[in-house]
Amino acid sequence: MSREAQKLDSAADGAVGIGVLSLDLLGQVLDRLREPRDRKACRLVSRAFERAEVAHRRALRVLRREPLPRLLRAFPALERLDLSACASLDDASLSAAVAGAGGGLAGLRSVCLARANGVGWRGLEALVAACPKLEAVDLSHCVSAGDREVAAVAAAAGLRELRLDKCLAVTDMGLAKVAVGCPRLEKLSLKWCREISDIGIDLLAKKCPELRSLNISYLEVGNESLRSISSLERLEELAMVCCSCIDDEGLELLSKGSDLLQSVDVSRCDHVTSEGLAALIDGRNFLQKLYAADCLHEIGQRFLSKLATLKETLTMLKLDGLEVSDSLLQAIGESCNKLVEVGLSKCSGVTDEGISSLVAQCSDLRSIDLTCCNLITNNALDSIADNCKMLECLRLESCSLINEKGLKRIATCCPNLKEIDLTDCGVDDAALEHLAKCSELRILKLGLCSSISDKGIAFISSNCGKLVELDLYRCNSITDDGLAALANGCKRIKLLNLCYCNKITDTGLGHLGSLEELTNLELRCLVRITGIGISSVAIGCKSLIELDLKRCYSVDDAGLWALARYALNLRQLTISYCQVTGLGLCHLLSSLRCLQDIKMVHLSWVSIEGFEMALRAACGRLKKLKMLCGLKTVLSPELLQMLQACGCRIRWVNKPLVYKD
């Protein structure tokens, strides 16, 4: 519990003090509490705060469907509702909850239903009908959502923001429904809606003139779409990743469009060349972000000269996968000296000289991506450190020529460093000792740096208390002591990867149990851990959402029982190759009401009946399932049908059973 909460706690003891404050003031107090955990503490200790929260609460994220009706009734002032993690939400429960809330949803502006596979058009229709002020809906990754679902959403005439990423069944018809139904649409993402074609985009452009942001990534649309899009006068952002039918001609059409265009993403558009980009830049004086990853093979002189016209505005340039030369990097540096973010991932030909001449001009750089630029050495790091004092993010994966000296310079000169990726760089404890100076560090990736030991972890833990993500993949020198230090120093860790750190035992997991905020934990191939360690994690890490126990051969039913009992928020679980039985599996699957995704390949100890029973118990909740191919024929067809009917996708794998250490 944070200090603020404790303070309020003590205030609540003298309940009179809190009671005299108006609900409004208390609401203001609550608004200033950032952590949900702290708000919960307030709510629980003081009725005044509870009342204030009821009146003031604007946002709600629901994790289970059972309390949904009650919650919707309880918070009449809701504006944002997040149901993306609401387990086994379906049409019936959603419409019942909406109906039960009465007019309580009248103020709702934003609903997130990402990955809510079970919700169909009936539920959406009820929801939209109850929320007259609805402005934003997120249906992304509802893979079974189609035209009918989208049509139900399109009934919200005031909609301004809509995400339909990976709604695989949406076609032009659904898009037309949206285009006609929501004329004030400003933001729309159609990523992965592969059925949508040029004529759908054309109608959209005609009917929704207010569009400011549009994502048509991965669509099979061509230049005609860009012609239509160029009629959108307010367009600011356009993403078209991997639109292989789009070429320079389309970009030229686009260049005649909106003057407000700020961000263009043509990553992985195979047919786009620098000539097309030059044409696009021509006259676009406000262009700020240009993503051209993995699409350019060479940079023409014309592009460079056009780039220079964006000197004042361009802040973001991504050129991943391009073959660059020192002179090119120098030219970019001279053209765009306001760059804040530069991406040169997998660019061949990036040398120390190139980087030096680039960063010498761009002192505002905050993010530099040099993934797989394996020619660079400490010299490059030195020049980065000298020039980019504001650096926050540095990605150096596979840059194996760097060592602790370069990192020392970085750590000393860039105090704001928040993220550093040193995967496969072969750095050692000495480097971590220097990096520990960066107290702002949030994300640290040290995968495959096998020379890192508990000592290095101890350095990090001593000073990087804000660390949120730590990747120690295959750092197999790390032992339980390292985890003890980590759990002691970095209490805020949410994502932890310990795969193949096979010296870790149950004792280490016991230390991890103190990480209350841990959400994602990967323990793949930790052969020494057993159910006891799992139990301590399950009990301690209350926020655990994702757990990977693949090839933890010693984990048995005891671990599953613990998970079933304590890890109530668990959504994704991998127990492939574990020594569990049908009984444990049944218990696990019937107890974990949030579990949506389970991978259980090669559970040799589980009988067919065990699988059958377990899956029946979890039927309405599972969204993703990975099982051995052989089970396909022996499991009852009704069960499989039922699973699919509930929106569960089953991935059948056919792998031999091989034990690895």
Binding site: S95, G146, A176, K177
Partner: protein
């Protein structure tokens, strides 16, 4: 009358004798013969045109008489000049002349047959009068065709001759490009061209010829125009809107022929509505297929039994040399009517037929599937029936489209219209029935819905269509109208009898009494 005919015949023969020595190409002849036979028999309409107009064979035919000296000069011009021209096409001339020759033979045959019958059948005077009317109508049309073909002989040599021979130039002006049948007199370019040519005075002979021809043309104009006022029902000369939306295939749209560069023919309503398109030039019997007509022609004499005459006419030959002919709709006020200010001619007889039926006739064919769409052209009905019910792209306004882009164009155009999803009807009923059903039920319901999308998008649409169809229920596979087969051939019994151009003749009264159907 017969005397006049023979003189006319002589005139025509004189103009075509020069071709007699040339090789006769059978196929092109056949082609021109065929194509003209159609026009010819559509053209005069004995039953109704006769009473309305001044005597056919009075002044007009006399004005068609050309003095022999003129004729000789005319012919001489032809013979003397060809060598001078580089782009002068002897083939075209030959084929045109052969055509003229044939026409003259036809005239001769008709007159002869008339003569014979007059001797044989001394029957009722009314019958005889009717026959005479018929024959005169035939004659008129043949003569008109003669003139038009004769006129077309000149344009091909007009330009090269212009400098050398003013007379021919004038002839060309008169007969050539402005040789428009049914051209209004004030549009005739010959009037303008006369002022342009300084040495008109020297060619008084040709002036006379020209004037003669002009008068003939005037007469023809009258002949052509006159059926309209007495055209019967539905032809009130009130200006009307162009409501023929589907005219794009009626022809004449894309081509921008300058007015006067083509001959305008105007068929009459009855001919347009007649079921047949190929008519025997001798007895007038109608056929649906040219092949059948050719078989029929064998009965009219040995000259039709030659392999050349029986051979299928090839398309390309002769087509270039025939006068550019365009058609006018008889409906006054129609944009396709030659009186219209922005007259757009129709390209072929088929275009005329389709246009007239679509625009000025009742839509008597109803689709038996949807019972709403009506058509006046049977082919349109068939086209529609191919797609009826399969128009799966539905707008909220109820309009259906066979193609998605059409629907989207429609939706883009009209405010508030939105595409309708196929299963909408089902959806509403289901939703009202069980909004908050129990979980297992709901899951089963979802299993029905969800199990399909997993297959493919096509699967969905098919499924949706099937269900939507069942809901609407307006067609089951069994509800095909059994009379379709009959419609295929011909639809309205009695139609062919009452509206046939020759139906006024008592059946069986003479050898060319109409008997419909393919022989």
């Amino acid at each position: 009358m017969e005397g006049r005919m023979t003189s006319l015949e002589a005139t025509m023969k004189a103009s075509s004798t020069m071709a007699s020595s040339m090789v006769r190409n059978a196929d092109p002849d056949q082609q021109t013969l065929r194509s003209n036979s159609v026009e010819q028999f559509y053209f005069p309409r004995p039953g109704q045109s006769l009473p309305g107009i001044p005597p056919f064979f009075g002044p007009p035919s006399s004005s068609l008489y050309l003095p022999n000296d003129n004729e000789a000069k005319f012919g001489n011009q032809f013979e003397s000049n060809p060598s001078q021209n580089t782009d002068w096409d002897p083939q075209a001339i030959v084929s045109n002349l052969t055509f003229l020759e044939q026409k003259i033979k036809q005239v001769k045959d008709i007159v002869q047959s008339m003569n014979n019958r007059e001797n044989q059948v001394a029957g009722g005077s009314s019958e005889l009068a009717a026959k005479q009317q018929l024959i005169t109508a035939d004659l008129t049309s043949i003569i008109i065709q003669l003139i038009s073909t004769a006129g077309s002989l000149l344009p091909s040599m007009k330009n090269p001759l212009l400098s050398s021979n003013p007379a021919v130039r004038q002839l060309g002006n008169t007969l050539g490009s402005p040789m428009g049948f049914g051209m209004n007199a004030n549009q005739r370019p010959s009037v303008d061209s006369k002022t342009d040519i300084p040495d008109t005075g020297k060619t008084s002979d040709y002036d006379e010829l020209m004037n003669n021809l002009n008068t003939a043309q005037d007469e023809r104009d009258e002949l052509i125009k006159c059926p309209n006022p007495c055209g019967g029902e539905g032809s009130e000369p009130t200006p009307m809107e162009d409501h023929d939306v589907k005219e794009s295939d009626d022809g004449g749209e894309g081509e921008n022929l300058p007015p006067g560069s083509y001959v305008v023919l105007q068929l009459e309503k009855e001919e347009i509505l007649a079921p047949h398109t190929h008519f025997c030039l001798i007895c007038g019997k109608g056929f649906k297929r040219d092949a059948n007509l050719r078989m029929h022609m064998r009965g009219h004499g040995d000259e039709y039994k030659t392999p050349a005459a029986l051979a299928k006419p090839t398309k390309d030959s002769g087509a270039d040399h025939a006068p550019v002919t365009r058609y006018s709709c008889p409906f006054v006020g129609c944009k396709r009517n030659k009186e219209h200010k922005k007259f757009q001619p129709l390209k072929t007889i088929l275009c005329v037929k389709n246009h007239y039926k679509r625009s000025h006739c009742d839509k008597s064919y109803t689709c038996s599937r949807c019972n709403t769409k009506k058509f006046s052209v049977i082919a349109d009905l068939k086209t529609h029936e191919k797609h009826c019910g399969r128009d799966k792209w539905l707008c909220s306004c109820g309009t259906t489209f066979s193609r998605k882009d059409k629907l989207f164009g429609h939706v883009a155009l009209f405010q508030g219209h939105t595409p309708a999803l196929p299963m909408e009807d089902v959806k509403v009923s289901e939703a009202s029935e069980q909004p908050h059903d129990s979980e297992p039920m709901n899951e089963m319901a979802r299993s029905m819905v969800y199990s399909f999308p997993s297959s493919s998008s096509d699967g969905i649409s098919n499924l949706d269509m099937k269900m939507a169809d069942d809901v609407r229920g307006y067609f089951s596979p069994l509800s095909f109208d059994p009379c379709f087969g009959a419609l295929d051939d011909f639809t309205r019994p009695g139609f062919d009898i009452s509206e046939n151009p020759f139906s006024f003749l008592p059946s069986g009264s003479c050898s060319y009494g109409q008997q419909n159907g393919d022989s």
